[in-house]
Symmetry: C2
Subunit: 385 residues, 2 copies
Amino acid sequence: MAMDVTFLGSGSAYPSPHRGASALVLRNEGDCWLFDCGEGTQTQLMKSQLKASRITKVFISHLHGDHLFGLPGLLCTVSLSFPPLQSQPSVLPESHTQSHSSVHVDIYGPRGLRQFLRVALGLSASQLLFRYAVHELEPTADQCPPEGQIGFMTAPPTDDHLHPQEVLGRTISLCQADGCYTLLEDERVVVKAFRLFHRLPSFGFSVQERERPGRLKTQLLKQLGLKPGPDYGRLKNGGSVTLEDGRVVTSKEVLEEPVCGRKVCILGDCSALVGEEDALRVCRGADLLIHEATLSDEQQERAVEHGHSTPSMAAALARACQAHKLVLNHFSQRYKPVSQCKEGEEENVLDLKKQAEEALEGTNVEVLLAEDFLTLTIPIKRLTK
Amino acid sequence: MAMDVTFLGSGSAYPSPHRGASALVLRNEGDCWLFDCGEGTQTQLMKSQLKASRITKVFISHLHGDHLFGLPGLLCTVSLSFPPLQSQPSVLPESHTQSHSSVHVDIYGPRGLRQFLRVALGLSASQLLFRYAVHELEPTADQCPPEGQIGFMTAPPTDDHLHPQEVLGRTISLCQADGCYTLLEDERVVVKAFRLFHRLPSFGFSVQERERPGRLKTQLLKQLGLKPGPDYGRLKNGGSVTLEDGRVVTSKEVLEEPVCGRKVCILGDCSALVGEEDALRVCRGADLLIHEATLSDEQQERAVEHGHSTPSMAAALARACQAHKLVLNHFSQRYKPVSQCKEGEEENVLDLKKQAEEALEGTNVEVLLAEDFLTLTIPIKRLTK
Ligand SMILES: [Zn+2]
Ligand SMILES: [Zn+2]
Ligand SMILES: [Zn+2]
Ligand SMILES: [Zn+2]
């Protein structure tokens, strides 16, 4: 039930000794999901308490190098710690006939990502000891200025040459019904992507736990004379049971409060939302909203020109979607970590925090600063209905 | 006249917090040349005294990720510190019509490297503020087992889609006359590549300074009554001058001893030389021979199976080519840097040094261990003829 986020890289543009390039890990019930993978992410992982080999899903917000260039190396290193495939991996590209259930790492990201990995892993002759699939999100033309479309346009749209360990992933288009991309839905969690405006098409990701029914009040059930068995199941699932004395026991009486699903939203680089209403709906009530703030409010013009945000811009989204906590992230490398800041210094990351806090006056939104190796826990919430 | 080598990554397979992935910088008269560029090289550069922006040539020994995956990010970061091009870089792929003199970074490496950079820089929409050229070396089929040829075979051999800042480089084939690849020849230096056997085609590089005539003994010239001018030039260039008294002054009398060109040889991953005689000739008398020693002598079978070398194998080459110093490099990540080794520990990198030293008994070859951020100076040598 533990859910936490660990920042591995909180810097923008390139990795520095003070701030790695973009990467963070969301842990949820033992699953490790990586969001963005800038150069050096595997080394940051080694320095953290996390294990690269536990990563089963990777989400790439956009194809800028500071979010992407660590991915081929990460996959190779995950493979080194991997038990050999039952049958040795074939060097022939026939694995895409495998069923998707054999896939160990699912990778989600914008169109072009398949091609990038095929060429990077292919030319380096990297054989992986597991299968991977790349699920490509089709951006829409309004996610970037016209220049930004060149990058992904050059990627040939053909899928005839898969990497030997690649299983062909899904191609995911914008859902016309809800204005989002549905990446994953199971009984525990729903993951959606929404559109951002940046120099290249960029995406935000929302990880939403489903609400879970409360636990059975077993003490009370015993008092009522009910024994474990079908009755328990019926009550757990919202049904009711009639006792021997004719009294009807409802689910509501014997269940603790339901556990509200937690929501974490992680945005890629952006200067604006695209399809604002839909994005706001997906982010509504986020427990943790992780948003870039590359430059300070004073530099908003420059920030926007480069497709980036400022603390006030991040705060405006946090306010609009009623987030609980806003984490500023992806700082210009001029901003040193708090522990290395000296008072009175010109470029102080604490000033960015203040700017967001001022923009959030009158709300209860808490503002935090991302820092490499910072872990934030998202506690379980019990709903009082 | 200063010439030195700084190791940025002395580890194999992947970058770790203790040993970066393969990279080293050779400095010669202000030029910075990078040999291999594993993931994280740009961060290692930042931690060192070197400046990424000074790098004007990059040599990639082979396309394995631990030697290559840092290159796209490095180029992007060099660009960030670069003065804008006189005319803003065009987004249209027309720069290959530019003359080669406009190229700021020359990159040398095996076939496939162009394609790798085009896709990595292209899909990430990385616009560089300088032009680069990739000079591809054509490997021969005997440089790797048949499986290794798959990687570079998948690279389409077409050059119709250059990166916007790419100037089409040379394609360099094995010279039948000397069994080597001539990458560069100017009045100061000759750079050649020679063939290595590895899981992928791999190369070694030899940087050979040309011999320079000694300085004029100006004190002596004054005594002889000669004044600066054409006579000085003639003597400097090996000619002779007749004094007023009829006496002939030869170049040899008035020149200090010539300065012998230094030679540094840097080998990529290998388990053997290909075209041994030619490679030995190129490496003959190297002042510094930098050779991988991924595993210990006890693990030679495993090392060779993976296309790697042991200390004794490196020593055998140092002995055969009469190198002055042998630097062991590219250690398995199990070998911690000397400063972190505890006595009696099982996997001690000092054992690798001992093995090479024992194999070199009876010679004067000095054995050194590469370590991240170690700088080795190659002193000027004056020849006594
Ligand atoms: Zn970024
Ligand atoms: Zn970006
Ligand atoms: Zn290697
Ligand atoms: Zn290798």
